[in-house]
């Protein structure tokens, strides 16, 4: 039993950072990150003997996290209280409030992207995977992954611009004027 734990931790160690970042991005505003990580790790531990390619353990973890988050998303939509909680957690980690709010808004905007685009952006931009690794994980060509990331970024940029314009004081005043007049 102890041997199994040691082996598991040895295999898991290099996967830790990208996996936790990916889980944080996935769970932002939707569920507790620790719950997702624990759920995935428990499942991976139970089936550890069955995983033949231990070198691709990270891919296994990412896929497991994605599947669990998707099944969880079907049940629960974006929750405002969790969004605030995660934003506060970012502030607690030493980020400025403005940056924390911006990151929160970015995750919220990413939620509006198609699943493939948001996943590719999370893996590439936040978790730090290379295009090649993402292509291997998603069973797609590198070109397709590049295109997906590019389109995702563009759309995300547009979404952030829209949210920025809708939330400026000038825009709010304009809206108020329209309503009053």
């Amino acid at each position: 039993m102890v041997n199994k734990q040691e082996t598991f931790m040895q295999v898991y160690q290099p996967c830790h950072e990208p996996f936790v970042r990916y889980c944080s991005a996935l769970a932002f505003g939707r569920m507790d990150t620790e719950d997702l990580i624990q759920d995935v790790l428990l499942s991976a531990y139970q089936h550890f003997e069955k995983i033949q390619k231990k070198g691709q353990f990270l891919h296994y973890l990412i896929r497991a996290a994605r599947n669990r988050s998707i099944s969880n998303w079907r049940r629960r939509k974006l929750q405002q209280d969790l969004l605030e909680k995660h934003t506060n957690q970012l502030m607690g980690k030493g980020l400025s409030p403005e940056l924390s709010l911006d990151i929160g808004l970015m995750y919220k905007a990413m939620d509006k992207l198609p699943v493939k685009q948001s996943e590719a952006i999370m893996l590439f931009e936040i978790s730090g995977f290379s295009i090649k690794e993402i292509a291997a994980m998603q069973n797609r060509s590198e070109g397709a992954v590049k295109t997906t990331i590019s389109r995702g970024r563009k759309k995300l940029k547009d979404l952030l611009e829209d949210s920025a314009t809708t939330h400026t004081p000038a825009h709010m005043l304009n809206t108020l004027q329209t309503i009053l007049l």
Partner: protein, 314 residues
């Protein structure tokens, strides 16, 4: 700062955020895993679809099971024994005419007999007997009651008439067909004059069918089974019973007072059972069930000759 730069900055900041859970914490978490139950080992239905489909499947199975159980409980043959309606069974039944004559003479309308409705087993013979006795009883009652002297005279005349008939005795001592005299010549010599079935009809029918089935003389109880006699031998459905079985069947029938006689029949159908004699006047005997007496009489107008014998004669 351009928007693209801002997005890059956001990504870079998100990438630099300290991890929510450290490797040490994960190690502690993993150390607790062996004590935890395997995932998904609790409730078997993890989503709503499984729950709904499981419920529908179970309900369907239970419904099918209950339906099949209820089907099995139904009897294969529905036995109905309803009393014979006298008018339908034999419109020329003489007791009615006697009553109507009495009613015409006395001016008293008789109530319809209720004993035929009460009893499951009804016989033409016993009906006739009871009807006669009832008439006498009712007439006696009427005599006891205060009435006009003219009516009393008429009633007493009728009683005398009935009693006279009774005392004189019809051939079979059974005033079944009052007003219709059954001549002695209708009865062959070897037939007893008084055929009266003895025992329980249901028991008799059950025993007879069991015997016939065990001897493979019939294949099914559903079709009509007709017992008759030819030269003191038993004929079933116009086929002579084999010689070695004759004694057994004769013994069984004699136990119920059914002796060999050319005009004597026993007819068993799912609807009724009839045992009696067919004379020129009609059927004299006992019927249990719903039967059309005209059919019984018409089917036995001609003497029954076993198939093998009739073919050889031809």
């Amino acid at each position: 700062m351009s928007k693209k730069d801002k997005l890059d900055t956001l990504f870079a900041s998100a990438k630099k955020v300290p991890l929510q859970i450290s490797l040490k914490e994960v190690s502690q978490m993993v150390s607790t895993f062996p004590t935890l139950p395997p995932p998904g080992s609790g409730f078997p239905f993890n989503n709503l679809n499984q729950l709904i489909m499981g419920f529908i499947g179970t309900t369907t199975l239970v419904a099918v099971f209950l339906f099949s159980q209820s089907k099995q409980k139904e009897p294969l043959v529905k036995k109905e024994y309803s009393p014979i309606i006298q008018q339908e069974a034999n419109p020329l039944f003489p007791t009615d005419s006697l009553e109507s004559n009495m009613a015409q003479d006395t001016g008293i309308l008789f109530e319809p007999k209720t004993d035929t409705e009460k009893g499951e087993e009804t016989t033409a013979l016993s009906q006739a007997e009871t009807s006669e006795e009832k008439i006498v009883e009712e007439t006696d009652q009427l005599i006891g009651e205060p009435s006009d002297s003219s009516t009393e005279d008429k009633t007493s005349a009728v009683i005398d008439e009935v009693r006279g008939e009774w005392q004189e005795g019809l051939i079979s001592s059974e005033p079944v067909k009052a007003g219709v005299e059954i001549s002695v010549k209708d009865y062959p010599d070897n037939c007893g004059e008084n055929f009266r079935f003895k025992g329980d009809f249901k028991f008799f029918k059950r025993g007879l069918i069991r015997l016939l089935k065990s001897d493979k003389l019939i294949s099914s109880i559903k079709p009509r089974i007709l017992f008759s006699f030819y030269e003191n031998k038993i004929v079933v459905n116009r086929r002579l019973i084999p010689e070695h079985l004759q004694d057994a069947y004769l013994g069984f029938l004699e136990a119920h007072n059914v002796t060999p006689c050319p005009i004597r029949i026993i007819e068993i159908t799912p609807q009724y059972i009839a045992a009696g004699d067919i004379t020129a006047d009609g059927f004299h005997g006992r019927i249990n069930g719903r039967a059309n007496i005209n059919d019984i009489e018409s089917s036995l107008k001609n003497p029954i000759i076993p198939l093998g014998i009739s073919e050889s004669k031809e």
